[in-house]
């Protein structure tokens, strides 16, 4: 069983696997996205307090969840790469960053758009959105640091250290932001929660979360595939693959 795991860490096996994996993940992901969106937009009944506006939850919550989960994945992959020096781990970490940043952006925009009908303004400095904004800065810092190094090895290790330091700080940052917000707004419920969520409101949310997760993994597989190919350029298997690829890159 462990041989399967170690084969995965071997670049040529990973490359071959990742190509198939990404289609296997993306197609169900897109199907689930459609089903979840349909469930959220049409099938779920309007909320008692928020009316139809609460439907934004079906894109905001999965985006926010992804933005945080991807950061943790990025830090974990970086740590694995640092400690055990598994090269693919660094490739995974590098590939996570742009995906995570894009979903942080989506979480911020959907959160702000949700805010307007709910509390009258697009931005209220509430703890959730403020934490998302800080997370966006963390992503940009990570990508900026990566890009600043010429040597790939240095870039890998430095950004891994930064990601781990960031992930350790995120709970502290989040706690202090929540505390800061509570001092100003009083103990009101965060407006971005669906107060009481019934069954037929819940399943589209769970579907969307699953869909977003599969989507992330599918895109990740695509990106890591390219990373691995570029990093292993000197290796025989990589050059064979490049030589035999059709111009459309169907390999």
């Amino acid at each position: 069983m462990w041989t399967w795991f170690f084969r995965l860490a071997s670049p040529p096996h990973f490359y071959a696997l990742a190509g198939k994996l990404s289609s296997w993940l993306l197609i169900p992901a897109l199907a689930l996205l459609a089903i979840g969106a349909w469930g959220g937009l049409v099938l779920a009944p309007p909320d008692y307090q928020q009316g139809d506006a609460f439907r934004i939850i079906y894109v905001h919550v999965p985006s926010a969840y992804l933005s945080m989960m991807i950061y943790v994945t990025m830090a974990l992959a970086g740590a694995i790469g640092l400690i055990w020096r598994i090269k693919i781990a660094h490739a995974v970490a590098a590939s996570c960053a742009p995906i995570g940043a894009s979903f942080t952006f989506a979480a911020l925009v959907t959160g702000a758009v949700w805010g307007k009908p709910m509390w009258g303004t697009y931005w209220e400095w509430d703890p959730r959105l403020t934490s998302e904004l800080i997370l966006l800065f963390l992503y940009f810092g990570y990508m900026g640091l990566r890009g600043a190094f010429e040597d790939l090895n240095q870039a890998d290790r430095a950004s891994a250290i930064l990601a781990v330091a960031g992930v350790a700080n995120v709970p502290i940052i989040h706690f202090s932001v929540v505390w800061w917000a509570s001092l100003h707004q009083g103990p009101t419920l965060s407006k971005l929660e669906a107060p009481s969520i019934s069954g037929d409101m819940l399943w589209p949310l769970l579907t969307m979360i699953l869909a977003f997760t599969l989507f992330f993994l599918g895109i990740l597989a695509m990106r890591v595939r390219g990373e691995v190919l570029a990093r292993e350029f000197q290796a025989r298997w990589a050059q064979d693959v490049l030589r035999s690829a059709t111009p459309e890159g169907a390999n």
Binding site: I161, G166, I172, V177, W179, W180
Partner: protein, 241 residues
């Protein structure tokens, strides 16, 4: 017996001859000497602190009631910016003259040595801020109790800022044009200190009890002293490659 930090490698040849405390003192003294030699660098952060604090009344309002409300946040932000601006100095001199590489070869724990360097840096750039803060707070009409809490929170917080900053400085040491990047990657880490320090002062200002945030600041300082040098040491090893 002094460790020689010359670039002829003489220090590396000795077996560990210094106790850890002595090593700390030696590096602290050396960094203080080197840092204070470049007087313009040392005074930069204090002058910048004064500048930022001066800008706010000019841009907003010189009214006592407005300034008093703004004071905790403004003074803390100014302190944060002053720290951010001075961080690149932490390793620059040593990187330039090769001392940093030398440090890596010495048979002493790198994290301990970096802690000494960071404390020296804080003494040069952080203590002036802590000293100036109460004076400037008076110009913001801050009452005595809030002023005391402000100064104390800065005393607890600015070393933490320097320690967190040392991680960023270590990661970007040797990168060209690293100034902005350094600020960017370090600022999110510093947010909790900013929030706690400003809020503690604010609580004192409105007559409430500020000890909660102050304790948390102390806890963060302890955490930073124990963990930041280790992370910075790892980062320096990457940068020195």
């Amino acid at each position: 017996m002094a460790v020689s930090l010359r670039t002829d490698g003489a220090g590396a040849a000795d077996a560990p001859a210094l106790g850890l405390l002595e090593l700390f003192r030696v590096i602290l003294e050396r960094d203080l000497r080197v840092g204070l030699r470049r007087w313009s660098d040392a005074s930069n952060s204090a002058l910048f602190f004064i500048l930022v604090v001066t800008l706010f009344p000019l841009a907003l309002s010189p009214r006592a009631d407005v300034l008093r409300t703004l004071a905790p946040g403004v003074l803390w932000i100014a302190a944060l910016l002053a720290t951010l601006l001075s961080l690149h100095l932490l390793f620059r001199a040593d990187l330039e003259d090769g001392t940093l590489e030398q440090l890596l070869t010495l048979p002493y724990p790198l994290g301990w040595m970096l802690l000494a360097k960071t404390i020296a840096h804080w003494i040069i750039t952080g203590i002036p801020v802590v000293v100036m803060a109460p004076i400037l707070a008076i110009t913001y009409h801050l009452p005595l109790n809030a002023l005391t809490v402000l100064t104390f929170s800065l005393l607890l917080g600015t070393p933490t800022l320097s320690l967190l900053g040392s991680i960023g400085a270590a990661l970007t040491a040797g990168l060209r044009g690293a100034g902005v990047l350094l600020v960017f990657i370090v600022a999110p880490l510093m947010l909790p200190v900013l929030i706690l320090g400003a809020r503690a002062t604010d609580l004192a200002l409105s007559g409430e009890d500020p000890t909660g945030p102050l304790y948390l600041l102390g806890a963060l300082l302890v955490l930073a002293i124990s963990l930041a040098p280790i992370v910075a040491a790892g980062a320096i090893r990457v940068s020195a490659d």
